[in-house]
Symmetry: C2
Subunit: 457 residues, 2 copies
Amino acid sequence: MTRYPCEEEVLKQIRPTPEERTYIRTMGKRLIEAVERSGMAKAMMVGSVARDTFVRGDRDLDIFMLFDPSLSREELQEQGLALAHRVAEEFGATWREKYAEHPYVNATINSLDIDLVPCYAVESATKIKSAVDRTPFHTRYILSHIGDYADDVLLLKQFAKAGGVYGSDHMTEGFSGYLCELLTIYYGGFHPLLEAAARWRPGEVIDIEKHGTKEFEDPLVVIDPVDPERNVAAALSLSRMFEFAELARGYLAEPSIEFFCRPDSPPLTREVFTRLLAARGTHLFTLTFKTPDYTPDTVVPQLRKSAESIRELLERSEFAVNRIDVCMGEERCMLLFELMNETVPVMRRHIGPPLWSRGNAEKFLAKYVREEVFAGPYVEEGRYVVEVPRTFTRAVDLLRSRTLFEVALGKHVRRSMKQGWTVKVGVECWDEEFAEFISRFLARSSPLARIMRRTGK
Amino acid sequence: MTRYPCEEEVLKQIRPTPEERTYIRTMGKRLIEAVERSGMAKAMMVGSVARDTFVRGDRDLDIFMLFDPSLSREELQEQGLALAHRVAEEFGATWREKYAEHPYVNATINSLDIDLVPCYAVESATKIKSAVDRTPFHTRYILSHIGDYADDVLLLKQFAKAGGVYGSDHMTEGFSGYLCELLTIYYGGFHPLLEAAARWRPGEVIDIEKHGTKEFEDPLVVIDPVDPERNVAAALSLSRMFEFAELARGYLAEPSIEFFCRPDSPPLTREVFTRLLAARGTHLFTLTFKTPDYTPDTVVPQLRKSAESIRELLERSEFAVNRIDVCMGEERCMLLFELMNETVPVMRRHIGPPLWSRGNAEKFLAKYVREEVFAGPYVEEGRYVVEVPRTFTRAVDLLRSRTLFEVALGKHVRRSMKQGWTVKVGVECWDEEFAEFISRFLARSSPLARIMRRTGK
């Protein structure tokens, strides 16, 4: 396999050093021994460390503790956490409990970020009792199929990270580590994968084990080799998929180290922000409220759903929306709306029933003929239309009103907003805490466009 | 047949007096004799006078001159006009030539408005050589089927006139006299017709002679008893059809003389107009230009088409349009647009190809990555989007620009606008010449809503 010179360069920088690898694997083995010494569970390393596909400086070590599947959920949770606490204490770690589908322990030992995760030792990935039970099977599959592709996976991960498409979390909606590994194995290396991705179309299906049993609607379908009913790429959005395709085309046309470097673009200043916003001529609005005390994978989808619902409310109210985005900060969350107009006329058109729906038409006419209206009821395309006054003529008033609670907000977002929220308008939207988010929003570009501009190509 | 008291009242007012009828029919007979005396053509009275369905005070008398179908178009025109001139002169009339599908003579004798129309004496309505050849067949059909329904037709015509739905011209898009006659005959009188109309649905089909051979898409289909391939109601719009249905329901619920009275609503004053417009909060724009020297049936459809094309241009440019209307005045024509916003941000979103259309996507990226843009190209729903500056941020600038010539204007409208047009904004739109038109636009209401408000019901 030939590598471009820039790839050798990149590998030199991201391949873990032998010392690093030895150290982290040794630590893993000691933790496994500590778990198994208890006699309560088997243990294994999972994740990129176990598969030797971790990037230098990654300090994440995942130890799964495999318990007897005959335990109840409660027993697993109780025994799993107790064991994890004991092991963490034994290593003198600082630790805390965390919650995904069920609780686990996150410990820090010598600056390593270690997760101790209890799961069931099920006999096959199709018999899992919770999502984490699948992970050991993924690790085993990759270990037995990775062959000589470890460096290819490293390059791919770095390529995807630098392009902003790495991670299957709800904020990124990109490529998970496992997906990167499977794609590398399937296509036979980093270059063949890029060649294929450059030609991807929506609805691409990859079934390495040729055992898929279900139809998926997702833009990319990669049937899990350990579970025929699961799409490994389910979290990948159409946009991230094609941002990757775009990067692949750009890289194949002109391979360069730039494709592996995270862009180092400092956020705007308040002055530049003010100037850019004035140049666009659009109307920016932010809603901020206290961040709900849940993980990003719970909160971010709710932020998105809330912003989408509020966008629909705005558009129903005739405020044209250009773009929206959301950001989950430590303390506060922000929903950002860019509108094409900030006011609408008092008059709004209210469309009634068709005249041939006689009962409804007669009721509609009787109601509005008695009310103060601007015009109507009149007949347009066979339907009644009436022009009536509206409640909110300014977007800011709508966004500050309790009408927001009439649309579908996420449960935790709703609860947080009940405590209050703040609406800012235009240049007032600038917020140092969200400087990076707001800057990225205003200067939004595809990853390849950013690289082309950076390199002047 | 029982009549409501208000109907007897109305009939007393609109039924021609015996003297009027005798006078007008006598004049008709004398004109027929004069035509036939020439030996060049047969003649007959057509229209409502011939059918005894004319409303008191109608001074229209139509005499058709039926020529040998073996004449060429040119011969018909030449001989027809010559004969008409001679007859008009013989009666000492003031007369002038007019043009419909082909030329005819319009003469005034003792305040009667007389049309002398040459046509071909074809043997059946399916063999006509021009649209006017059909008229004699209509007259004969109605005369032989009208029976006792002359009063019903009179009531219906007055009802439709008062409701603003009478006339198959392009401005009204309503019910022609012939259509009123056929509907009365088909349903068996004024009341049964109203009962039926109150229950109409779009796509109603009436085929009195059960000989229809074609499918029509029109909201109301009334197969011409003298021509199986023609829909008599082709000019009727969905809105006029259901305004009539609405009036029928209102009248049957509470019969009153109000349904036969033309509303006498004086136009607004400039002051009231200014106040109403400010209350609505919308943005009014008028375009005026010289009226093309053609008949309303040529010009009005072109005005509508032009206004519709400009509406689409406005909406493509993100100016939201509430309503439009057109008016053909003696000297000038007016296109009226009511917008929800009069400005848009400099920034406009330009949507590019999907990323999987590789060639186009690469071209798009290469183009915009080098241009000054506000943001992008970025990927949204798998397509490139770029945010670029636009030319017109004010609707008035767009409406004053030659961009209007890039959209489909009617031929004569385009020619007239090439000589120049005027755009007015907001309160400046007020124009005494178009006071009635603008007033009707602002206070638009269905006919029944107007009656209910007038009578306080």
